[in-house]
Symmetry: C2
Subunit: 289 residues, 2 copies
């Protein structure tokens, strides 16, 4: 997967007429994850997919990854598993490892920069009054896994897999971009927080119906809306969007969960359930700074 590692920098062709899209993320031991929860391979895979999810949220196609790995010298063997996990994520999303840097450090530290391109990147701002709001996949599994792990319990295999091996919704993001999505974001901080980001960026008021939220079994809609690490996409698009085409073409559910109700400087999100307004606080992520 590696390419161009012999030079001072790597080179890349950006497809003519497309814009470069770039994002850098870090993953730090005891801040973003606990070593006891994941294998080295999963730590690397998650870090890369979390960064790639930012490309998905722009409707971009990945081109390459650079990585910085720092770790205690005694863990040199395990860092190979982390690098293998990053390489696996790169292979699955068909992008190249372009290079990077290694260092020793007191704790495991992983920084991933992803490069991609899109003809028309979709931003957080741009949601139009009258658009409908859509979410990919189902919510709630990573949050349930995190709650179980924090309580010292074992999460179910399905919930653990969603938490340990998230999938960047790259095809889904490109589909949304190609079908007129006016604004998009990934749900890495949780639906409550990220819907607020989308509303604030666009200066709009969003209404989200919790009864429509696609949630995994055993998780309430409110819990699923509050928890992060989801890496599903939330986007605004015309209300007659062909969700059936989406589901056929990318083999994932797409659910209409609300609408862009009004202009609202500064942004506003209203959650309703059984026809009544519900107040939801943003989820608290124990592993964010």
């Amino acid at each position: 997967v590696a390419a161009g590692l012999g030079d001072d920098a790597a080179t890349l062709e950006v497809p003519p007429g497309e814009q470069l899209v770039v994002s850098s993320d870090c993953s730090v031991e005891d801040v973003h994850f606990r070593r006891a929860w994941f294998s080295g391979h999963e730590i690397g895979y998650r870090a890369a997919m979390a960064a790639l999810s930012d490309l998905a949220a722009m409707g971009a196609s990945p081109l390459g990854i650079t990585l910085v790995l720092a770790f205690p010298p005694a863990q040199r063997h395990e860092i190979e598993a982390v690098a293998d996990g990053i390489a696996a994520a790169a292979r699955e999303t068909r992008c190249r490892i372009l290079g990077g840097d290694l260092s020793r450090a007191a704790a495991l530290f992983c920084s991933v920069t992803v490069l991609g391109s899109a003809p028309h990147p979709v931003r957080r701002a741009g949601a139009r009054v009258g658009d409908a709001l859509f979410v990919t996949g189902t919510l709630g599994a990573p949050g349930a896994a995190l709650r179980a792990l924090n309580a010292g319990d074992a999460p179910s295999a399905g919930q653990r897999a969603r938490f340990a091996r998230p999938q960047a919704r790259l095809r889904e993001g490109r589909w949304a971009a190609a079908h007129g999505a006016s604004a998009m974001i990934d749900i890495s901080d949780g639906l409550v927080s990220d819907a607020a980001h989308l509303a604030a960026a666009g200066g709009v008021g969003l209404t989200i119906d919790l009864d429509r939220l696609p949630v995994v079994q055993g998780v309430t809609a409110a819990a699923a809306a509050g928890s992060g690490e989801e890496y599903e996409l939330l986007f605004a698009a015309a209300s007659d969007l062909a969700t059936g085409d989406f589901e056929r073409e990318v083999a994932l559910s797409l659910t209409r969960i609300g609408e862009v109700a009004a202009a609202a400087p500064g942004g506003r999100v209203t959650f309703v359930q059984a026809g009544r307004r519900v107040d939801l606080a943003p989820g608290h992520d124990h592993f964010s700074p």
Copy 2:
């Protein structure tokens, strides 16, 4: 200087017909530097210039920077100085801060990704037998500063400035690329090590005359060749290169220090002084992993 920080990723136009050039570097407390040596501003400035130097070595023009900063919560105030130092380096080299990530961590950790572009990036491989070897600027000051600091002495102001505020030789690298440089590298590991990298990449034997080495006062040619953190450029080009034009146009010395003597699979570097062959070991950098 910051742009596009509100979206999941930043977007960038790569000039039509040019290739994207990208490199990621990290700078870790007690590995790459000691806190006692530098201000927070200098730590950030150095980290950014070291990464930008990789673009210089490809003959590329910088477009943007992403950064990841991790630090102990109690040092939040100082991290602003680090970020200011990175922003100063970005301003001086006319590139944008595109975004990044912040985290807490046990020690200060800084990862910088630089993006640039070039019509024809210059690689480490490509030196042609018969080419001459050129080096920009003067060598030896950062190594002398590091030796003084390690010995508990104060370096001279000039040596300290070269160590604490390195300059990425971006104009110099572009000049070399535009004037037919066949292979180029920055001297971040020291001339002995980086000449070996250039020789190995190109499968050539280099001869370098230590008597021609441009060194600062008070440092021997052997010491200057062995020490790293220089961030000058070493490149191969036609032996009739107009070094006078270079010096007029970029206001820095350019010195012919040797030649590409022969093909040599695996690479070979021969140092001569006073007409005799001299054996030089690669410099030992106390702060590399």
